[in-house]
Symmetry: C3
Subunit: 109 residues, 3 copies
Amino acid sequence: MKLLIAIVQDKDASRLSNDFIENDIRATRLSTTGGFLKSGNTTFMIGIDEERIDEVLSLIRESSHTRQQFMTPPVNLDAQLDSTSSYPIEVQVGGATVFVVPVEQFHQF
Amino acid sequence: MKLLIAIVQDKDASRLSNDFIENDIRATRLSTTGGFLKSGNTTFMIGIDEERIDEVLSLIRESSHTRQQFMTPPVNLDAQLDSTSSYPIEVQVGGATVFVVPVEQFHQF
Amino acid sequence: MKLLIAIVQDKDASRLSNDFIENDIRATRLSTTGGFLKSGNTTFMIGIDEERIDEVLSLIRESSHTRQQFMTPPVNLDAQLDSTSSYPIEVQVGGATVFVVPVEQFHQF
Ligand code: NI
Ligand code: NI
Ligand code: NI
């Protein structure tokens, strides 16, 4: 048994949470802020048998890894629009940080 | 010194919190959701000397273990009542998950 | 790599958070209550290389250690004021509790 502590962006948390449920992985969710990721983030605590660590890591990487995304910046109605203002720009989203911590005892009551 | 991370149901958290205070056990409380337990839950982080682990585990088991409880389902006024609808039914409540994690250094400033 | 879990008073959390940013220390912030400290508190989770632990501990001690502070108690307008009621009194503020937990794996995706 290990304890995985995974910090992901809020926008990736729901998909990851569903992935955990589908794969019968029990994760407790904490609302957290700042630090490892710029915007609001979510921390999952996951108790998991050693042989399933790689499976959990794959799910986290799959749903939450850093990636480029195109978004259209909001149009600023107060400013004189220059011709580029409504073009999509590439931004980095996602990112996950995971700690694997040893567990000396695990109990369920 | 060990770090106990205990996840209990919200409805059991207040009693457990009082038990910790009465027994001079310092627990920090986090509001958490999902995963180990279906409904809203509460996570306690407890720093404790090795020789008191069993005492803390007993308090958690005592206040928060899985148990059957009778509850009367709410009457559905819109439906045609069948004769069993207001009988108490047995539901499972409670449940606790506890991780004991090693601590390499402990500081109080 | 170690995981530091630091619990400080809410009033000390903003300064400490800034100290972490200035020193390029990534800390994830959790809103917590009770236990180690009487009033509202904040927990930071910090992943840090072993050789920087003392630096992080110094920042926490510097911003959050227990100290005496003078405060003027609020004047009670309903009561008959006795002559001492608006004198400043000395109160204890601050305090930090830190756990250093081993990390077996650390991943960033
Ligand atoms: Ni991808
Ligand atoms: Ni019982
Ligand atoms: Ni000082």
